[in-house]
Amino acid sequence: MSNNLTDLTVAEIRDGFRGGDFSAREVAEAFNANVAGAKALNAFIVETPEKALEAADAADKAKAAGEALGALAGVPIGMKDLFCTEGVQTTAASHMLEGFTPTYESTVSGKLWAAGAGMLGKLNLDQFAMGSSNETSYYGNVISPWRRGGGDNAALAPGGSSGGSSSAIAARLCPAATGTDTGGSIRQPAAFTGISGIKPTYGRCSRWGIVAFASSLDQAGPMARTVRDNAILLETMSGFDPRDSTSLDLAVPQWEANLTSDLKGKKVGIPKEYRPDGLNAEIAALWDRGIEWLKDAGAEVVEVSLPHTKYALPTYYIIAPAEASSNLARYDGVRYGQRDLPDGAGLQDMYAATRALGFGPEVKRRIMIGTYVLSAGFYDAYYTQAQKVRALIARDFEQAFEKCDLLLTPTAPSASFALGEKQADPLAMYLNDVFTVPASLAGLPAMAVPGGLDSQGLPLGLQIIGKALDEQTVLNAGLAIEERAGFNARPDKWW
């Protein structure tokens, strides 16, 4: 165990606090100090050191009194600023919601606080979770703590949209954080920063109180440095919520207790369509190592086909903007958020001015695309067709899972890139999600785990995709990779 409290994992903090190695307050103070000292990363929109201390003191008091402790007592975490938090500004990284203070707590954040976790702050993200590099936030870019080797000081993207979460965890500003994943927003930033993150099966985590991007795709999930930590957090975050019609009415499995890296009897599918011509050689090589690691853990490897893979991204870029164009219609300057009322403006003028002011360019672009694909005369050609192709993509997975128990793929087509590098070309940015989007469209659990560093010294991740509701196999395979990859690289502190 490290002497530095901020190097500890969630499991280590939990157990050390329970065992009396340190107090919860010491932990909270140590992370608060790291947060305060890392302004250069711009990972937080709002810092809430007092919340972290409050939860820590409550945990210390409960422990001293011999009371039962919550599953996350003594553990401070970061909260993506897409989760509504009662009394704490929630912006979705937009100007639109600047100053918006919810009078309610999202189901997932509420479960975490009820389990004893403390909030270090609200983490930056791509505006309304739309982006893959954290360059669309109204509150400025998040900077990855990683840098390329050889004295290249270019600021790198922490991935997106959960880039505040990934950057903060990699930089030891928090041991874990929440993320949300619509097309890869947990997995791609995790891969870019050398951490782990899991998007559970659609419906495991309640969407109630999470600012919506695309309802049929949005799923919350944890991000942390270890697979075990992800299992611990996911157990608390999951569970049936009668306030969310799409919530799954199922008991939450004991993922942590059932963790094992023994994959005997499991078949790993390798989808051939994920190895297109021109796949980055270092990523291809890592993928091959990953296959070997899973074999070493006892799994059998089979090749499978997911024939509609190439259509996943265009399908996603119809469905997600369509849903977003409607989900974001409520931001109109009437009941909350910004209002822009030019002189003499009528109601409809106020809407147009408010939304022009409150939304950033990428959000506007997606609303416009969504509006267009749903508009009269185009609905069937775009939206209905996309929902049919989506059904085919889901069927591909079902058929593949007749031959295997899980799939192993790369998480992203490249390592982290420099900020500004892809901003000019939205389409090039969208291609970042090529490996993560298919599982989102099919609602399947999928996880990113770090596999190693590339030749520039930047982390690369592997993705495990499981059958619906089979988070356990996903986590177990993640653990098998984690143990064999021995990934312990960390960014040198420059901030």
């Binding site: 659609y202 419906g203 509609h308 147009a352 939304f359 609303i367 996309a386 049919k388």
Partner: protein, 95 residues
Amino acid sequence: MSIDLQTVKKIASLSRISVTDAEAEAMVPELNNILGWVEQLGEVDVTGIEPMTAVIPNHQRLREDAVTDGDVRDKVLANAPQAEHGFFAVPKVIE
């Protein structure tokens, strides 16, 4: 299906996002680029395929008919840019 400046302006208006002429012009190639790319979906044979409705098999639950919420006017109005006499206020609407 390529879109022109007029269409961009119409979409912006439907989306209630005011755009300047310059902004609209810049959006024409950008949106065409994206739309041209998603149109490759047209080549997929979807004969006999039903559009997806629920990603994970699940059925719609129904609530019991009971008053369990409301009576929270302060919370409802707490973040309003303009609230007066218990109402949200907007520029006068002429119907």
